[in-house]
Symmetry: D4
Subunit: 251 residues, 8 copies
């Protein structure tokens, strides 16, 4: 809750430099910005070296342009997730400096070089080719948040040799993000092979009794491998955000 | 629908040895037996060399005694499933020739030696120690139905080396029954390792989002390994019955 | 897990013909192929005489063309499932030797004659005309996997005479696949009539409380006929794959 | 809504024999009776020749004694459902003229002979022996409501010959109540055999994916046989009540 | 199960006029007709004076034309349900003698006058204007099946006076079909007002926690008014079919 | 139930000015109006000073024009909810005096000034920008129903300072409507800050395990803050309607 | 958030009477009290004239005694909910001044007379006798919170005349709490009869598809009567708490 | 997969010190131990400095004694979770050196001092007093795994001041475990206040629509605060295990 700022206000009040009414008033104008359609927290982004983030789903191109322009004006990097190819194309016209990551459905703008702040690599593993969009969203996010990343795709549990032959890669990661749909068994297998935090991301891949990711979600929540935590279905961004916090150099 | 009998009846009618009314009447007295509380099909059991089966759950000791006595009178072997230790103890007093399998919660009576009728071995694999009651029920059932059996317990996916080190056992089976609770991932892994029919049995083992076996059930239905079929939660008997049909020598 | 290959590698290491690092490296290049968007197991297909399989749902025509071309280069037969008519038409232009099965939404390419490897016939039964796409997918799959097949359509339980009049057909099958939507009662009835493995396939046919196949799925999992196993909703392919394993000549 | 009485009140008001306030007041004292813990409608019972009904579940023996005594004082017959053996035993001590139906968990008191008011027989069919308590509740209820009844038990769909051999019984019924747990397929089969109203009663019999009757309920709601309607899980009373209305002589 | 026919066959076999093989063969050619895409039961329709019925949902115009033409050739009346306006328009071009009922999404063809066979009127009640399509489907169906019908629309429980003012209409019906979405409370209220069979039809009307009709369905299954039975969500046809059976003159 | 009118009728009957039949007849013509597709209650609207309300979802423009015209003829104000921009545009052409509120998807027509009838302000709080359509619907509704309103948008629980800095606004409200999707935690936080009725509105905002608003709905029903009541998912109108009743000057 | 206190602290800091560290420290000792097993908010209770409340479910008698003693020491009245008869009896021994309300499973201690603070009466309506415990909890709570109360029990929708004959009672209430299980239809009917806030409380009364209150909950959330808000299943306390806030004299 | 050991075996084979058969054999005797009822991985425990862990739920005292004795023989510390007070008491008799943690339902035996291996503190926060058992299990687990720990109990979102006044504690943690039942909103609020990994643990605390923790689980999965990951309902152990991995000094 911005206690630094609050402490400063308290101190000023104490020092007589600010009266109570003014202090109350000031609390109302902490640095967030009203764009008409969205208020975004710049604080955290600035403090963490994280990019500004826009969740693109359900937003019009016009809304996104307004938000992205405002974010760019802050000077930081920008990450927009859940951006369809059509929207991506239009945003590239407005922001030629942007990069659109088709596999991840993400758009990124780097106004300054990304500073590496992690202790180790974040490895993104996925089970099938249909899980790639979610895995790629995690990958782009993790990189934008200042992490070294690695990927290991299409290593489902029904073909274990693919996974086992990459054992070294698994062991070298600081955090592992495992993306899987259908029965969602991969995080349990990976969790049994590594001794690092494993973040499981269920995907809506599958049909019938997959129930749009519910089967994978339940499988992951019931993982018999300790050390596995779970995020929402298709939430590649959230997994990478959490992984970034786990991978920070200072505790 | 007992077409042999029906064909015989038709033939007798054709031969003039039986009139229509008699034929209709006879259809009503096909060899099933009314015990007041349960009518059991002896036909299939007799033809298949299968034991007579009693589903013990929800039946009183008195009911079970009546049914078992009637079945024994037929001369065949008897398998009672879902028999609690308390009930088992009482039934042993009445039927001293019976064997109570505590781990499987089953009671068996062998009035004649079991004839082996299968093409190969039925292997029962289970993920955790809590899954053993269901696995053992499958094992007892498969053996009573004339199959050679083998077991491989406590080989969950979070400790793959246990499973992989038993690879030969897996490859030698004709049918594999895989019993698992929690996330139910084991059948996918086994299905990727063997090229035989795999029958997956979800168990109600787990807590919270395991939802009494629903998580495992959904995981198994969505298995990414082709060749996996699924039975009801905790249905070790049904899995072994289906495995026995798959393992028969004559197609 | 390709233990033959691994044993060979171990033997070479033992013989001094290969050092440890080389052995580790070789494990990473087992014969699967990276197509950018999908890695497919050729091993099993080759060993089993099975076709190469592409799951078409969610794949673009371009992706499918790449995958199919790669598979054809292996010399085997190809089966693509969940191929919409529009996609099917485009793939036929690229692969004129292909056959598109409209009722099954499948595309097949036979580069060499299919070798019959089954013990008996696989019979595909379906309840209503709306279930035909799933039944036909099972039928095409079973045939491509080297089985003799037979079909019995539109024999729902509300008109039992249709089913009963085909009793001989049921008895002659080695494995029966039963496809049904709505209440999913047909596998129970069929399971009571035959003494062969019955694979139940729930379909998403129905409306309201059918819940896109959930009602049929639950019905089948709770079948009162022993010997019935179940696959995922609309999974005609999986049922036929499992049936093929059950129908193999060598255990 | 007791329109006869209301019309009478209106008429009296019209005739000047009753003022408005009195009319309003009278509406508050229509013939239902407050027993402290339950208000019961005697109107319908009296008019229909139906017995007074007590739903025993969740009521103490003391509460039931109070209610039954009040009902007896009205002069009609009494039917109490969901009465456990323990409660039944205690109620028999208080009401020696009562009959306790152990299989149906019902208690009945006939103060006057039951008048037959139906057009035909109500047939109660059930699938398995575990469904008998619900079926028996339906049977007792139907008889108490003035119907001729018949029963056909233990005729599950996995053994169709049992059902088919009783075809005549099915054809002679005016209304058929079909009670089944597990997959709940029996009403579809019966509905295909008869051309009479079929009332399906799902039971909570089963385990695992039976979900305490949900599988059977969904199966029945999705019945492919037209003419089937459904009541709540285990609601044998409700089925018989509805069947009685269908079976009345005057439309 | 066409026992008349079977009895005849049996009799012929007995009389020596038919041999066993011929009898078995004949069972396979009972009078249903294969149209390539659908086999329909004409038996019941003919016997009951019911129209031939086509479930239009999911069928192409071409398929429907084939089926309807075949049905017309039988000489009976035809009812097609779930026919969209677009399909309806095309079918009218092919079958100019047809009538398209826009509110009910039904198409009917009367080749001969409908014979009234009911004991009384079937009344269709619905709660809101959005429920009308389902109510109208029930109304058209009931009329085509030889019943006098009446309707009472837009009488939801939140405005009881509308319903109560039509009390006479309710009392005059032989069977009442009550159609309601959202909370599905109307059948309970109607069931408390009449002493006739009430068939409740939940509709998928509503949003959010209506869950496409599940809320209404559950409400109806738990109706506190005895005598209410339920059909599937949006199943106006099924309700009318069941109501027709209940309303038949001969038990 | 219009007891004033009924009392008047009763009084007239009593006074001899009206006979019973006429009284019964009159009950059928209470002032609601049949528009062919919808019957609307004008009574409540008139008595409460509330606008006439049309639920636009699922209604055609033609239907809405008919209904709105009929409502305007009554002389009151009109509120149409769930009006898409396309429909809104067309309705504006027909009713140029209307105002279309794009954020709220509502259309309003004020034929006379809105009379303020509330005790205090109704405050509408929402968690995220995606929740605005539902919040705005509540806001427009509350204003049309004669309340002073205030809004507080984009104050989700993950950025508490935004909410806390507006503490005064919260304290000044008479009723607070809290609109939130995803985890639906905001009503608990607000409920802990104010001592006024809080009406929680879950929205369908979110993805994956949000299940179209179910997660938010459950969260709100389980709120640990006493004084919170809940309405259906996305039901901004219903929340404002209830809030208006709570805010009325006369109890 | 205790802004009065915070303002005071701010003011003291401003006045130099308190330094920043002391201010921060003081925030940690706001007047809530740690009892080892529970921290309770006395603030709200004191300010509102509400009783102190203990949720008894899951607490031991010893825990409850500790908490109640601590609350009594504050001088206010005490309300304990979800107190079983056994616990109630023991608590009465310890607190002889307490009253145990058996029907409501509540225990109350009035150390000072309850001050009436409401604008009007709170009416508690319930559908069936099994709903009484929840209704009585609401009644006791509402009275303890300073409201005049009235009750109307056993007026289910299947017997509307009971409800309609009490119309005056309904109209005189300021807030109506409606308690119902099974299909939960009563709030819709009541909501259509009154123009006051209606708080619906689903109960877990019922069986089968009632799903422990889910059917009633969904019914209430989908109520077609505007002005109805809903609380959690069996939450009579919460309903009364919300009703008390709505009934307060000062907005 | 124990690649160190495997590499060693490979190296020995390469060096000629081991033949292939011996190598295969050795793979089967990796250091896990068969206790008849459970096979436990000691590898991970030894390598991580973690205690040996026994999941006590569903195990008999005899089974637990066998397992604990075997674990103690290894020389490490032991943690048993889900140990009821009765079982705890019996185990203390057998293992007098053990400590039973009543609030956490855990039993611990420290054979050697716990080595601190974490980077910072693990803070366990819980919402209500009923959540304490799960929180305490997390706390004991985290401490046994070599972490400094801190706790912050009874700080639910409906009383935010309690949480906010402990802001410093929150900021000092390296990882925060947040335990909450009912609506599960606390992790979102905490996640918005800290910039550290937050592990959310839903509990089964609540009633009605809490659905034994499902409401809390869904709330947490949909948390609007990025950086929150989730474990299974009531899984305090799993949360602490994952937190320990996150808190390790070497990446």
């Amino acid at each position: 809750m911005h206690s630094d700022r609050i402490e400063k206000i308290l101190a000023e009040v104490a020092a007589g430099g600010k009266d109570v009414a003014a202090a109350m008033e000031e609390l109302k104008h902490l640095p967030y910005e009203d764009l008409g359609c969205a208020t975004l927290d710049h604080h955290r982004a600035l403090r963490q070296g994280f990019p500004e983030v826009v969740f693109g789903q359900g937003k019009s191109v016009a809304q996104m342009e307004t938000i992205i322009a405002a974010l760019l004006a802050k000077g930081g990097n920008v990450l927009a997730t859940r951006v369809s190819p059509v929207k991506g194309k239009k945003l590239l016209q407005r922001f030629p400096q942007a990069v659109y990551h088709a596999d991840a459905r993400c758009l990124t703008i780097e106004q300054h070089p990304i500073e590496l702040r992690g202790r180790g690599k974040i490895l993104v593993v996925c089970a099938g080719t249909s899980d790639i969009p979610v895995a790629a969203e995690a990958l782009v996010t993790a990189r934008m948040m200042g992490n070294e990343t690695e990927k290991l795709y299409d290593v489902g549990v029904a073909g274990l040799h693919r996974l086992l032959s990459r054992h070294t890669l698994l062991r070298q990661a600081a955090v592992v993000i495992v993306v899987a749909g259908m029965e969602g068994a991969l995080p349990s297998v990976v969790g049994g092979l590594v001794e690092k935090p494993v973040i499981a991301v269920p995907t809506s891949v599958g049909y019938g009794a997959a129930f749009n990711g519910v089967a994978a979600l339940l499988g992951m929540l019931n993982s018999c491998a300790a050390g596995v935590t779970v995020v929402n279905i298709d939430n590649g961004f959230g997994a990478a955000y959490a992984a970034s916090l786990m991978n920070r150099t200072q505790p």
